[in-house]
């Protein structure tokens, strides 16, 4: 599985997206804190966090005896740069070309 596959797989689950949303609002939370927001066993939450960690979307940082979970936005940025920018930029340049084309036509008609 590639890094990108892991990110898409991790995002293809509503519980994991909910966990990411929780961390987006405030990260650096412990498993216990995250667990209290979900109607799910501790083990279930742990499993989801592991998938998010494997995808690099969550980074666990040790702080004394606790493990704090941080949201890592870089994998989403990489997907944005690889997949989204490509198409939006394409559209922008297509529009720019159309504008140029129309302007040129307009000039020719003068």
């Amino acid at each position: 599985m590639t890094d990108e596959d892991r990110v898409f797989k991790a995002l293809a689950d509503s519980t994991r997206r909910f966990l990411l949303d929780l961390l987006f609002v405030r990260d650096g939370r412990t498993l216990t804190e995250l667990e209290s927001e979900l109607a799910m066993t501790r083990f279930g939450v742990m499993k989801h966090l592991r998938v998010l960690e494997a995808a690099g979307l969550v980074v666990a940082v040790r702080s004394g005896r606790e493990k704090l979970h941080y949201l890592n936005p870089v994998p989403i940025r990489l997907i944005h740069d690889r997949w989204i920018d490509k198409y939006t930029e394409g559209r922008v340049s297509a529009l720019a070309n159309l504008k140029k084309h129309l302007e040129k036509k307009h000039d020719d008609e003068k």
């Binding site: 941080y70 940025r77 990489l78």
Partner: protein, 158 residues
């Protein structure tokens, strides 16, 4: 505290060079040249690009101090934005760069930015403010592209 991690197909030494060597730093992200005096107490300064200078503002856009330099594994520094009075007033934040060698030529770079007392600095570096251009996520994504392909994604835009 904000945490950013990226996995790069490159050696730890190459990643270290890319984040500390002025010639490399200006090749990706915002293309601002930066200089480090890589020893505890050494100076760190990032300079305005020609484009930034056209908009006015200071020549030194970010400053700080090296707290610990352990090539090619760890760099701890302070980091303060100077181009805006309100950002400058938030003072120095702490920035830690950690480089770890992984399996099959993959190196991980983790950037930890302690911005708990600097909400405005947090907003521009986390990408929350769109006009600031993406912050650390953008910089690290571009750094990965540069090291893996030889060409930064931002190169065509700059």
């Amino acid at each position: 505290m904000n945490v950013y991690r990226v996995h790069i197909q490159a050696t730890p030494q190459a990643v270290w060079e890319a984040i500390t060597n002025p010639g490399w730093i200006e090749k990706y992200g915002y293309h601002a040249r930066a200089e480090y005096d890589l020893r505890a107490g050494g100076k760190y300064q990032a300079f305005a690009t020609a484009q930034m200078a056209q908009h006015g503002g200071p020549n030194v856009i970010i400053d700080g101090e090296v707290l610990e330099a352990d090539p090619p594994r760890k760099l701890i520094q302070t980091w303060r934005v100077l181009w805006d009075p309100e950002l400058k007033a938030e003072g120095f934040t702490r920035l830690t760069w950690e480089i770890e060698e992984g399996l099959s030529g993959i190196t991980s770079l983790t950037v930890t930015h302690e911005v708990g007392d600097a909400p405005r600095t947090a907003a521009i570096t986390s990408g929350e403010i769109k006009q600031a251009g993406g912050g650390w996520s953008f910089i690290l994504s571009d750094l990965k592209t540069l090291l893996e392909t030889g060409k930064a994604m931002s190169a065509s835009a700059a």
